[in-house]
Subunit: 341 residues, 2 copies
């Protein structure tokens, strides 16, 4: 019978967190200070820049507990952050985890969340070196700060796309949004395990190994993850790089599962592919003659498909879509706005 | 008329945050990436270890909005974190701020919170380089990750106290707890500005400059801030250093204001000084012949009083208090438990 946090207390919880990290995580090197002091501490490696990102998930806002196990919740929260580090070409090294938890939360659920974190960090030999736990009165939340490293000079930013660049994207953006839509229409208790769209929502993957491989080529001009939706993030590239973009509708990657689902859902396929969706794919720009080099580097790392979806233009701030008939239309950049929805 | 976050939207809010940091914060060096990419990035300085801490403040749990202005809330949230970096001997350099905010929050209040952050960071030439904002459904929260640096070899930990060490403490721990007690008994609208105990609660100060000065001497064995209460943090030193401690009741620093208040409050003075209280003083241990060196280093930095309150012993895990009559009693370590209260 699992106990609640009110029963084990803060220091009991911290002891258990300490233990799970020690037993199931990667061993801390000698010159690193982990949990148990006023700060964590480490020695940065010469020749590397440090990357830092933080992302927060609030219950009922970014996830619905009835659709996700604590283990998968921990994985998802860490994947968001790993994706950000990967999108700059970096390797995750150190995580700090801040949890806001109701007193009625079960200790075993918190342990499962930590197992989820470690499942994502261990492949990078990355450690949880700090954090804090606090009582929340209403919604639980998970706020992670992830520190990564990238060889000095190898970082790929979103502000350095150039007119004439090809735009590439990995995987099938939009599947996750479709998966969530299916889940929301599902009756409680219904089984949903075999649907690839639902899987895309339930088990999001980062592309950090691919991101590192891309940065390693030195050929990418700009890179970003699609966490604000393909169009939202293309908008970020255009804003920060002071460029525009043209997308070719016929070239956008649409999985067979999404194509079939969109026929019945009442929303067009493009709506899923372009708008907000919890996929963490990479969007990359490079000159046309470097496309092959970047695709080869990705293929050496994983079998994720890479699709050429458009071109960077000098039309600052303007994104156009060319449809199958060859007609062009401007589109408004659409991303996830946390306060208007 | 100030607008709400629902009215300005997430991207409107982020633009304003970006602007206030650019205009009112310290200028980012060229090789540093601030807000506006997947990650922030910086080049660590050779010869320094990095320190990282994160601390979270939840509305109605760690602060009561009716007693604190948004500006002071921002200052307080940053002070907690600066205190942790200072307690390891470090200098704050980079902050990431994660905010959970209701849609009804006023934009001008968020700006005031950021002004509070900057008021505390600017004296260290430290920057806000990243973060995120998310909608909270119930209580607002502020989660800060602060990265500091300390010269390699100069870090002071809590795990390195030695039997025979003298225990020193800065300032007057416990004043803040008394101040909060007064506030909670105050009628709405009553003026409370001139009470030093209330000031201690309302405007907590860190001792990070003093902490750096102490670390700079190379004379301190162990150091910690008193954020879990004097006794709670002495307990942390004892646990991590595998030592015990004796405190002398007559030597504990009690301000005149606290002494007067305790006479009427029904709780003893010791209760305030030893137990949880939002003071961020430093507790330091060193050999008896190094007390003067440490006190001199502090005096060169500020006029905060330093008091010798006890001795580290070999009685692992045992903390004793010697009262005015010379009688000894063991005390249970008491700190702030977030889930049991």
């Amino acid at each position: 019978m699992s106990r609640t946090l009110a029963q084990v207390g803060e220091f009991g919880l911290i002891d258990r967190i300490h233990e799970i990290i020690r037993v199931e995580g990667v061993k801390l090197p000698k010159n690193t200070v982990g949990i148990g002091d006023d700060c964590a501490a480490f020695q940065p490696r010469p020749g590397y820049d440090l990357l830092v990102t933080c992302d927060c998930m609030v219950e009922n806002r970014h996830y619905l507990p009835r659709f996700i196990t604590p283990l998968d919740l921990g994985r998802r929260a860490m994947v968001l952050n790993i994706s950000d580090v990967g999108a700059m070409g970096g390797r995750p090294r150190y995580a700090l985890v801040s949890l806001g938890l109701r007193s009625s939360t079960l200790l075993e659920d918190v342990m499962a969340i930590y197992r989820g974190f470690l499942a994502e960090l261990n492949p990078f030999q990355a450690f949880i070196i700090g954090g804090n736990v606090t009582q929340s009165t209403d919604a639980n939340f998970i706020d992670i700060t992830l520190i990564g490293e990238v060889e000095t000079g190898r970082m790929v930013r979103r502000s350095t796309a150039e007119p004439g660049d090809v735009i590439l994207v990995t995987g099938y953006p939009g599947q996750s949004a479709a998966g969530l839509e299916i889940l929301l229409q599902t009756e409680a208790g219904e089984s949903w395990d075999r649907n690839p769209l639902i899987n895309a929502y339930q088990y999001p993957a980062h592309r950090a190994f691919e991101g590192r491989a891309i940065a390693g080529t030195g050929l990418a001009h700009a890179m970003i993850d699609t966490s604000d939706g393909l169009l939202g993030d293309l908008g970020h590239i255009c804003d920060e790089s002071a460029v525009g973009a043209v997308l070719y509708e016929k070239d956008l990657p649409v999985s067979e599962a999404l194509r079939q689902f969109a026929e019945t859902s009442g929303r067009g396929t493009l709506d899923y592919v372009l708008k907000e969706s919890d996929d963490y794919e990479l969007m990359v720009t490079c000159t046309p003659d470097h496309v092959a080099g970047i695709c080869d580097a990705i293929a050496d790392t994983s079998d994720v498909p890479v699709t050429r979806i458009g071109t960077v233009t000098g039309n600052k701030g303007r994104i156009e879509i060319i449809d199958a008939a060859g007609d062009s239309r401007s589109v408004a950049v659409s991303g996830w706005d946390h306060f208007s929805q």
